[in-house]
């Protein structure tokens, strides 16, 4: 199973557990819900090696970059299709657009180190939830959701440093 399909599996599971437990929300803390999702996901993995045999961390990063580049260029292409043909040209050499491994590892660390309330908001947003849904699920105001999102993004922005000039 590829990491890509795992990713969509995670999103589906979060979605499933969120929907399934929505009615319990007054007594069911969202943090528990999130953790339960991870636990069940782990339990459901039959063969759980963190790093597939023979693959170094650098290989994994390289693969992730490949998929990320595909996704990003795909989104740019899709967006370009809504414009006239003369305006769709990517002016950059894609090879110049690939990030350094160190930057990715720093970002990964920062994402993993995000306070759980901030990471949860980011994960849910990336899973397609809107601010109001997240606020309702976490029993916080929309402003609080927005604040957590912005705090998380600010932390990531700091990691980007000079890269994100």
């Amino acid at each position: 199973m590829s990491l890509n399909s795992d990713d969509s599996r995670i999103q589906k599971l979060i979605h499933y557990h969120y929907k399934k437990n929505k009615h319990l929300s007054p007594v069911f803390d969202a943090e528990d819900l999130y953790q339960e999702t991870w636990i069940r996901l782990n339990e459901s993995s039959e063969t759980p090696p963190a790093v597939p045999a023979g693959l170094s961390e650098e290989d994994l990063v390289g693969q992730a970059v490949g998929r990320a580049a595909e996704k990003v260029f795909g989104k740019l292409r899709k967006r370009s299709q809504r414009k006239t043909a003369g305006e769709v040209q990517l002016e950059c050499d894609p090879a110049d657009c690939l990030p350094d491994t160190d930057l990715i590892l720093d970002l990964r660390k920062q994402i993993n180190d995000l306070p759980s309330d901030e990471r949860l908001v980011i994960e849910m947003m990336r899973s397609g939830y809107e601010g109001a849904e997240i606020a309702s699920c976490l029993h916080v105001s929309r402003q609080s959701v927005s604040r957590r999102k912005h705090k998380a993004l600010r932390r990531l922005r700091e990691v980007l440093g000079d890269e994100a000039r």
């Binding site: 963190a50 992730a64 989104k75 809504r82 990715i104 970002l107 999102k149």
Partner: protein, 75 residues
């Protein structure tokens, strides 16, 4: 230009890239599919620095999903 980072070609100016990167971060965090504003899209098509950050964010978040609290995920 930073001489150590030979692979990090810089395209846009700091002033041009800063607002785009805010949008990229926001876009990355909310998984929107078709909502890149036109001016952001146009900038990205010509700015490898900003595309690089976006790719880095996507790759890092994929990797973060596969370790930390979910270190047993791959399979």
């Amino acid at each position: 230009m930073n001489q150590q980072k030979v692979t990090s070609k810089i395209c846009g100016s700091r002033e041009e890239c800063a607002p785009v990167l805010e949008q990229v971060l926001s876009f990355w965090s909310s998984d929107l599919t078709n909502d890149l504003p036109e001016e952001v899209h146009e900038h990205l098509l010509g700015c490898c620095s900003c595309i690089r950050v976006w790719i880095a964010l996507e790759a890092a978040s994929e990797l973060a999903s596969c370790d930390g609290s979910s270190s047993n995920l791959a399979g």
